[in-house]
């Protein structure tokens, strides 16, 4: 493959060109209510040629390696139509490496029957947990994505990127009222992650039923404590996307706003993006431009300390490439994305965080989040009232919003119990979703977060 890619790149007339070719093989199984509801498999291949000439990009998406040199020429021709400036890409020493996956228990060795038996057992637990359970969903997916990459700078890599996920959903019904609860696991290293989830299945079912009786969370500004997953989604949405340099690079006002050295959060806030964690699905050895991934400090002691880059954004901003150019699929160009983004440990215990709250909300787990840089929103799967430092009544519909330039400074407690997590979902940006990412946080306490509701 290496020779084939480099041979095709010889046809490049651009300042820079690259070819990324991928294969993706996987299986998707699901139970829904009493039955197997899905049994699919796929085997796909294809890739993308990108060429940069005078600062303009040409992109050609293809399925087959046949005629690859023609695709390279077409990409160069497109780039020549566009470019009117100078090509500026950060320098990176070429790497030539192959990284097979470091799999523990390989999902490819597990039979269909064994997988379905496991899912069936989890499904029975959910359906049997309570008479109010109206429906269940247990979804399993495994994928082996293999990425081959070469560029005109002499870089070549092959990386296997496996992923296993299992997601539970329980639907409880009381008349016309439906409530749902969910949870999921994911791993880049072992099928073992989907074993032993009986307690999780049971909790999901019990929570769905409990949410039927739970009142809605009141709207308005509140003091909130976020658990690990919620804290991870918070920092991902509130700040993570703002650190992606392709949102800043060509936007002078955003660059000034997000200048390195700006005070952006409380002085106990430290945030990191770390690519090579290995075990999460957001981990990778090389980004999709061949840059080795690394650990990038984004916020240090409340001060903006770094950004996430592609070769182009790093070059144009005069900074070091960080290995954060990622593509969600074989047909997508790489854009700047997070890998595993988390808040580092603070000093407080969880108990101390709760003790500081006379009246507030404990927001747990996450449905998801969204950002428009200045404003962000993130949605808890469920929450609890906190009164006089004690966790109280379960509440539902806990959706929080904030302004990044205020909320990061309204954090007044960072726990010492960091957990970096993974899940079956992913991040979306510019039409590329769901990109696997890891996220995490210790427990966090934040004052004055607006919650939607009456």
């Amino acid at each position: 493959m290496k020779d084939r890619l480099f041979e095709a790149l010889k046809k490049s007339s651009a300042d820079y060109a690259e070819i990324r070719f991928e294969t993706s093989d996987g299986t998707s199984l699901a139970y829904r209510k009493q039955e197997v509801d899905r049994a699919n498999t796929w085997s796909l291949c294809g890739g993308i040629v990108r060429a940069c000439k005078n600062g303009g990009w040409g992109v050609v998406v293809f399925d087959s390696l046949e005629g690859l040199d023609v695709q390279v020429q077409e990409a160069c021709r497109c780039a020549a139509l566009v470019g009117r400036e100078k090509t500026i890409l950060a320098e990176m020493p070429p790497v030539v490496e192959e990284r097979p996956a470091l799999l523990g228990r390989d999902f490819r060795t597990i039979s269909l029957d064994e997988k379905l038996d496991l899912l069936g057992e989890y499904n029975r637990i959910i359906l049997g947990a309570n008479s109010a359970i109206a429906s269940s969903s247990v979804e399993y997916m495994d994928t082996m994505r293999v990425v081959f990459f070469a560029n005109t700078r002499g870089t070549y890599f092959m990386e296997e990127r496996p992923k296993v996920t299992c997601a539970f959903r329980a639907t409880a019904r009381d008349g016309a009222l439906l409530q749902r609860a969910h949870d999921s696991v994911a791993s880049a290293v072992s099928y073992e992650v989907v074993l032993g989830l009986e307690d999780m299945a049971r909790e999901v079912a019990e929570r769905a039923v409990a949410l039927l009786r739970a009142p809605k969370c009141e709207g308005g500004p509140q003091t909130v404590i976020l658990n690990h997953r919620m804290g991870g989604v918070f920092i991902h949405e509130a700040f993570g996307h703002l650190s992606e340099a392709d949102f800043l690079c060509e936007n002078p006002r955003m660059r000034r706003l997000m200048a390195i050295g700006r005070e952006i959060g409380v002085n106990s806030l430290n945030v990191v993006d770390e690519g090579p964690l290995q075990w999460t699905t957001g981990s990778l050895s090389f980004d999709d431009e061949g840059t080795p991934t690394g650990r990038t400090v984004l916020i240090k002691d409340g001060i903006l300390a770094g950004r996430l880059h592609s070769l182009e954004t790093a070059g144009k901003m005069g900074e070091r490439p960080t290995g954060n150019a990622r593509a969600v699929r074989r047909d997508a160009p790489p854009i700047v994305r997070m890998t595993n983004t988390y808040v580092e440990n603070g000093q407080r215990t969880v108990q101390e965080l709760f003790q500081g709250v006379d009246k507030g909300i404990y927001a747990c787990d996450a449905f998801g989040g969204q950002t428009e840089f200045e404003m962000f929103t993130f949605s808890a799967a469920y929450g609890y009232r906190v009164e006089k430092g004690e966790r109280g009544e379960l509440v539902r519909d806990v959706v929080l919003t904030g302004n990044v330039f205020e909320t990061l400074k309204a954090i007044d407690g960072i726990g010492n119990d960091l957990r970096v997590l993974d899940g079956a979902g992913g991040c979306g940006k510019m039409g590329q979703a769901p990109l696997p990412v890891g996220f995490g946080s210790p427990h966090l306490r934040i004052r004055g977060v607006v919650i939607g509701g009456r």
């Binding site: 197997v36 049994a39 699919n40 796909l44 060509e250 949605s379 519909d397």
Partner: protein
């Protein structure tokens, strides 16, 4: 298409059906899709990227012993292997609620391929983006502007063991722009785009830019957000979003699996009497127009809600069997082009009727919650205050919440004028919960 493949694929798929039968399948269908696309993208107001794409894919679904398995790929050499994998999966796979794919029936022909779109060149789409970028930068040179355009031509084929052999061709253009205005820490994001199968006056860079500029103008001034239970004005793109939970509710498989709040409510007054909603798969040149669903069943124009009364759920072949109902020809149990019938007054009069309320232009986080029940709580990403029938300025740090079913069952006023694709009017609803941070 430069390299049409449908005729060749018919023979390949007929052989595929035989292979599936040989391996023990009692029924099978094979789907093929092939597209060619060109694209252009502007960033920071200038041409950044252009490119092309040619891709194909296929999927095999087989029925063996009352169960289904599916396999998909894009290497034609692997087709036989993928048929084998689908049959292996069917052994343990999804329980099937039908015995055979139905025989071919007459379909309503609908045009989805346009020579005019096909002739749209790369220079044309670059020019279209350039016009949008130029208009936006002309309005405000400090805006950060991105634009994109695509032109696509595709062919598809469905072959089933029931005897269906149906091919189709489609063209589509898409054109849109996006502007970000940043003033210190205050940001406004405004975007708009269109897509259609035929190259007609809808391909209007000037109109697209004008819509974005209208939003930017309205957002020039910030005003304090209101709080409480308020009237909300929903432009067509927002009403379209509010209808999404309704789609989940009429999804036949969700109903059959006990996951729809509309279960058991056929012929009930579910929505306001002013709301009549149809599915219109035969709208000429609409991007999702279809003659046939993915099981070979002819599509039909269907009344979903008549005067707010729920008339039907949507079923594909298997979900219909599960529910004991007739299939409606809706792939994935989803509408093709859900269409809200218009009201009586113009959108200007509708706006004037709002004494005190909010204009919801876009929301952040809608759908990230218990949306299956219709519940939502979202940040008003771009919204305005309406006072005495006029937009007075932008509101920020504001959440809107409610239940879509409750809101659309209350007072719903609809405009007579519709969005560019003729499917959604403007609307005013009452009782949206608005909460915000005092400043």
């Amino acid at each position: 298409m430069r390299n049409p493949m449908v005729e060749t694929m018919k023979e390949v798929f007929f052989r595929g059906l035989e292979e599936a039968r040989r391996l023990g399948a009692s029924a099978a269908k094979l789907k093929f899709f092939h597209k060619e696309k060109i694209a252009a993208k502007f960033e920071a107001g200038r041409l950044k990227e252009t490119g092309s794409e040619e891709r194909l894919s296929y999927a095999v679904h087989v029925l063996c012993g009352g169960r289904m398995g599916a396999a998909s790929g894009n290497r034609l050499d692997d087709l036989q292997q993928m048929i084998g994998r689908a049959v292996s999966l069917a052994r343990v796979g999804r329980v099937a609620h039908f015995d055979e794919y139905p025989p071919p029936r007459e379909v309503t022909s609908v045009r989805t391929h346009s020579e005019r779109t096909r002739s749209l060149t790369r220079d044309h789409i670059i020019e279209g983006c350039g016009q949008i970028a130029g208009s936006l930068k002309g309005y405000d040179s400090d805006l950060f502007v991105t634009c994109s355009a695509t032109r696509l031509e595709s062919e598809s084929l469905l072959v089933t063991s029931g005897g269906v052999c149906h091919g189709g061709m489609r063209t589509q253009w898409a054109l849109g722009g996006f502007a970000q205005r940043t003033r210190d820490t205050d940001m406004v994001f405004a975007g708009y785009g269109r897509a259609w199968c035929d190259l007609n006056p809808l391909y209007a860079p000037g109109e697209i830019a004008a819509r974005i500029i209208t939003d930017l103008r309205r957002a020039e001034k910030g005003v304090p957000p209101p709080t409480g239970s308020l009237k909300a004005y929903l432009p067509p793109e927002t009403l379209r979003m509010f209808i999404y939970p309704i789609h989940l509710g009429i999804h036949g498989r969700n109903v059959a699996k006990g996951e729809s709040p509309l279960q058991g409510r056929l012929e009930e007054q579910v929505l306001a009497p002013t709301l009549s909603i149809m599915d219109v798969p035969h709208q000429e040149f609409a991007p999702r127009a279809a003659e046939m669903d993915e099981d070979g069943i002819a599509t039909q124009e269907l009344v979903l809600f008549q005067g707010g009364v729920l008339k039907r759920f949507l079923y594909d072949l298997d979900s219909a069997g599960l529910a004991g109902e007739r299939p409606t020809g809706n792939s994935g149990c989803a509408p093709y082009n859900s269409t809200v019938l218009p009201g009586d007054c113009t959108s200007e009069d509708l706006l004037s009727s709002v004494e005190d309320g909010i204009y919801i232009r876009s929301l952040m986080g809608f759908g990230q919650g218990n949306i299956g029940n219709g519940d939502f709580s979202a940040n008003l990403a771009l919204g305005y205050r309406i006072e005495k029938g006029e937009i007075t300025g932008r509101v920020k740090d504001t959440m809107v919440a409610g239940n879509v079913y409750e809101l659309l069952k209350g007072q719903v006023f609809l405009s007579s004028d519709l969005d560019y694709d003729g499917r959604f009017p403007h609307a005013v609803i009452e009782g949206v919960q608005v909460s915000s941070k005092e400043r």
